[in-house]
Each structure stands twice: as structure tokens, then as C-alpha cells.
């Protein structure tokens, strides 16, 4: 009975790429620097891990040029866990992205946490079968990344600070403008496209659906279960936690607590319970004291 079933089975279509992003919703994606941390993350219920050489707070401390991770480290992490493995390429560094695609990672993060390789262009993400996630500080930036083929957007926040204020600013900016666009008339949408420096087709789509055409996750500054609950209530669909897990005093406990708080983000009693006795969260930094603002990278 199956003779006429299609044998045409395209991989890497936008539906397939966005589909993985959709299946990660409600979950926590954790930065890990080795196989051991990856196991801790998976044990705690991470929906995916992000393989990188140094967590953002260390990149911030060490300075210098931050690049794609060693393939051996990525392979080690892939072998250690069953959940999807993501890895970061520098903004505009399409050769790093090609290497990550060749390694078979499940998602590529074209990330401002690494040192940009191109000061004018992002990677043409349509050219890849692997899905990409990109950061955005506002709706225009998000739509430009989607027009380049990103299958997921994450609000940037300010990575490595343990300070949620920038993530909140970026989420409110993106979601606030989406709400305004749903109220705009058809003529005003052209004004929005011009103001956002974004394709009119995507602006019109948002006016109809009231949301981005791809999932919107939150990154940059999440350090506690309550931070996760906050950004989920603001409208993020999942969270990335970088330094917040492995720079806390009890990573395993913190990871599990953030997973619970993300899944049950409206249940304050539960968030209170999982926030109890976690030890110290990662040390935080005031945004005003920073030398480098990672969120300013990207165009």
C-alpha cells in the first residue's frame, strides 16, 4: 500500500529547520564547554546544549578574539549527549559555519558573543541545511536575520553579565513593536518596513499573525529561575542560559531549577520552591561598567 509514498524527501527545508526550533520551545538551552558539563546539562533536563570554548563571562574577562570551538570538543559533546547540540560561528564567518555544518551540529548560532568576522554582512543562512539562530536587540534586526534565513531568533541581552536588564529591554522592544504592527493599517506597514529597515513581506506577515515567523527565544543575562520566569512571562518561548549555570555555586541544582521555572513559568509557588537553597548565582555586572557591549555587534 505504500508504493506511491513519496521518495522525494528533501532535507534542510525551512519547515524542517524551523520545526526543530519549534520543538525546543518551553525548554532551556545551556552553554557547555566540555562533555562533562554537557552531561550535567542533559541530566538536569536541558533541551539542547551549546558547545563553546569559554562561557561568555570568561570571554568577557579574557578579552582577545573569540572564535568557533575546536571540532574535537564539539565531537566529544555530540558523543556525550542525546539532545541536540548547537555551536557558535562568528558573525559573517561563513567558513566557520561550513565547518560546523560539516561536523553535523544540529543548530548554528551566528553569535555576537564571538568576535565578528565581517562588519557589514551576516552569513547567508539560506545556503545551509543546518538551521541557524541569530541574536536581535530589536524587531528590525530580527527581521533582517530572518530574511537571511535564520530559523530562530533569540533576544541578545548582554551575555556574560548575569544581568537581565538588557534581555528585558530587547524582548520588550521586539514584542512591543509586534503589538503595534498588529494595530497598524496597510499603508502604515510600509512606514514600519522603512523604519525597521526590514522586508515589507515580513512586516505584513507579522501584522496578520501577531508574532515572528520563527520562534523567539531569550538569551543574555539569565542567572536565576526567576529570571527565566520573567522573560517567559514577557513572551520569550524558551531560554538560553550561558554563564548562569556553570558560574553558579551549584551548577547541577541551578540547571534543574531553571528548567523547572521555564516549564512552569507562571507558577510562582513552584518558582519559589525551586529557587530555595540554590547557593550563589553567578556574579553579576552593572551594564554601565562594561568595556564591551556584545549586543552592539550585528548589523
Amino acid at each position: 500500500m505504500t508504493d506511491s509514498s513519496s521518495t522525494d524527501r528533501p532535507t534542510g527545508t525551512f519547515t524542517v529547520k524551523r520545526g526543530l526550533a519549534e520543538m525546543l520551545r518551553g525548554g532551556v538551552i545551556m552553554d557547555v564547554v566540555d562533555a562533562e558539563q554537557a552531561k550535567v546539562a542533559e541530566d538536569a533536563g536541558a533541551v539542547a546544549v551549546m558547545a563553546l570554548e569559554r562561557v561568555p563571562s570568561d570571554i568577557r574577562r579574557d578579552g582577545g578574539v573569540a572564535r568557533m570551538s575546536d571540532p574535537a570538543m564539539i565531537e566529544g559533546i555530540k558523543a556525550a549527549v542525546t539532545v541536540p547540540v548547537m555551536a557558535k560561528a562568528r558573525i559573517g564567518h561563513f567558513a566557520e559555519a561550513q565547518v560546523l555544518a560539516a561536523l553535523g551540529v544540529d543548530f548554528i548560532d551566528e553569535s555576537e558573543v564571538l568576535t565578528p568576522a565581517d562588519e557589514a554582512h551576516h552569513i547567508d543562512k539560506w545556503a545551509y541545511g543546518v538551521p541557524f539562530v541569530c541574536g536581535a536587540t530589536n524587531l528590525g534586526e530580527a527581521l533582517r536575520r530572518i530574511s537571511e534565513g535564520a530559523a530562530m531568533i533569540r533576544s541578545k541581552g548582554e551575555a556574560g553579565t548575569g544581568n537581565i536588564v538588557e534581555a528585558v529591554r530587547h524582548l520588550r522592544s521586539i514584542l512591543g513593536d509586534i503589538r503595534k504592527i498588529t494595530e497598524a493599517d496597510s499603508a502604515e506597514l510600509y512606514g514600519w518596513a522603512k523604519e525597521l529597515v526590514a522586508p515589507i513581506g515580513l512586516v505584513q506577515e507579522i501584522a496578520t499573525t501577531g508574532r515572528l515567523p520563527v520562534p523567539l527565544f531569550c538569551a543574555g543575562g539569565i542567572a536565576t529561575p526567576a529570571d527565566a520566569s520573567l522573560v517567559m512571562q514577557l513572551g520569550a518561548e524558551a531560554v538560553f542560559v550561558g554563564s548562569g549555570i556553570f558560574k553558579s555555586s551549584n551548577p547541577s541544582l541551578m540547571a534543574r531549577a531553571v528548567v523547572e521555572a521555564t516549564a512552569h513559568y507562571t507558577d510562582a509557588e513552584l518558582v519559589a520552591k525551586v529557587s530555595t537553597g540554590l547557593g550563589d548565582a553567578m556574579p553579576g555586572q552593572e551594564i554601565g561598567t562594561l568595556d564591551v557591549h556584545l549586543a552592539d555587534r550585528g548589523w
Partner: protein
């Protein structure tokens, strides 16, 4: 009719809107008392290891197992199929599965994301028109027990064996792929009919 969607993690919204298209609103299930009065449960795609942990910590594992054993109709896609199956290969040792459909499933059996694909599958009980099917890090059905009705099979490529991709046993319906990601609603309609029959 009162359909619940397990809403701990994963593709919850798509399932909700798929059933809404059929005029069947759904409620979200996050806690044991959300199971009260349900006529059917949808178990969405997501990460089965994460879902397994969250089912335990939410206190849902026990009550849900009881409800399923008592005949609560269930519709599982991708990770949802893994959770409903009897035997899971390549999972974590501590991974939970409810064992209400007699299938041996290999997690991520079609490969990593780079191997994820879309296509169509013939589902004869749904008519002649093939069903669009999106497979994302999809689980492979390695074996189906004698009580399982295989409703659709994906022909193997390059010497690989044919694999069941839509299966039914009693009031449990599962798919390896994500019917909620495409616009065809026939599989959801079949589940609604299964629930109606169960109530008769």
C-alpha cells in the same frame, strides 16, 4: 469532548491550533488535576528526556500512567510517540515511557538534524491523498507488536527496511513525524473519531 495537550515542553501551540481548526478546543496539562475530565490527551513533540524529567517532577507520571492504563485515548507525535511506547532504544536509562502501545522505538533513529526531512506518506485509512509529513530528528519504529495496527509505512531507502510511521493500538494513535506542523488535519480528525468511539 475535552482534549488536553501535555504542555510541559515542545510543540504545544501547533497541536492546540490544529485541534482548534477542527472546532475542538484543547486545554493545557501541566499538573495532575489538569487530567480531570479529559476525554483524550495529546503528547507533543519535544525532547523526550526533558519531558520525562518534567513529568516526574510535576507529579504527572503516576496519575498519567493510571489514566492511560484505564484507557484514556492518547495521540503522540515524535517524542510523544516515544513516551507512549513500550520499549525505547538509544534513550537514557532513566527515561520514562508509559508502554501503552507495543512498539520498539529507536530515538533519533533517522539521524541528527541534518538528516531531518519532509515528504508525504500514504495513510490508506485517511483516503487516497498522501499526508504531508515533517520528520525532525525523528524516532524509528524498529518493531511493532501483534496488537498494533500499522496505518502507514515509510519505504526504506538505500537498502534500509520499510518503517511504520503511523500506528494505532486500541485508543492510542502515534506518528513518527509532526502532522501538527502542516495544514492537513485528517490525522487529528481520526483521533477525534477514536475518542468519540471510546465514549460510546
Amino acid at each position: 469532548m475535552s482534549i488536553g495537550v501535555l504542555a510541559l515542553q515542545g510543540g504545544v501551540r501547533e497541536h492546540a491550533s490544529a485541534f482548534a481548526d477542527l472546532g475542538e478546543p484543547v486545554t493545557e496539562v501541566r499538573r495532575p488535576d489538569d487530567l480531570d475530565g479529559l476525554t483524550g490527551l495529546v503528547v507533543p513533540g519535544g525532547e523526550s528526556t526533558t519531558l520525562s524529567l518534567l513529568l516526574g517532577s510535576a507529579g504527572l507520571a503516576g496519575p498519567l500512567a493510571e489514566a492511560l492504563d484505564a484507557g484514556l485515548p492518547a495521540f503522540g507525535t515524535c517524542a510523544g510517540m516515544i513516551l507512549l511506547a513500550t520499549t525505547v532504544l538509544d534513550g537514557r536509562d532513566d527515561q520514562l515511557n508509559f508502554g501503552v502501545i507495543d512498539l520498539t522505538i529507536r530515538r533519533n533513529g533517522y539521524g541528527r538534524q541534518v538528516a531531518s526531512f519532509e515528504g508525504t506518506v500514504d495513510v490508506p485509512v485517511l483516503g487516497d491523498e498522501p499526508l504531508p509529513a515533517v520528520f525532525i530528528r525523528a524516532p524509528v519504529v524498529e518493531a511493532a507488536g501483534p496488537g498494533v495496527e500499522v496505518l502507514a509505512t515509510l519505504p526504506g531507502e538505500g537498502g534500509a527496511p520499510d518503517r511504520p510511521v503511523v500506528c494505532r493500538q486500541g485508543t492510542v494513535l502515534v506518528a513518527s513525524f509532526h502532522p501538527e506542523l502542516t495544514a492537513d488535519r485528517r490525522l487529528q480528525r481520526l483521533f477525534v473519531e477514536m475518542m468519540k468511539e471510546e465514549r460510546r
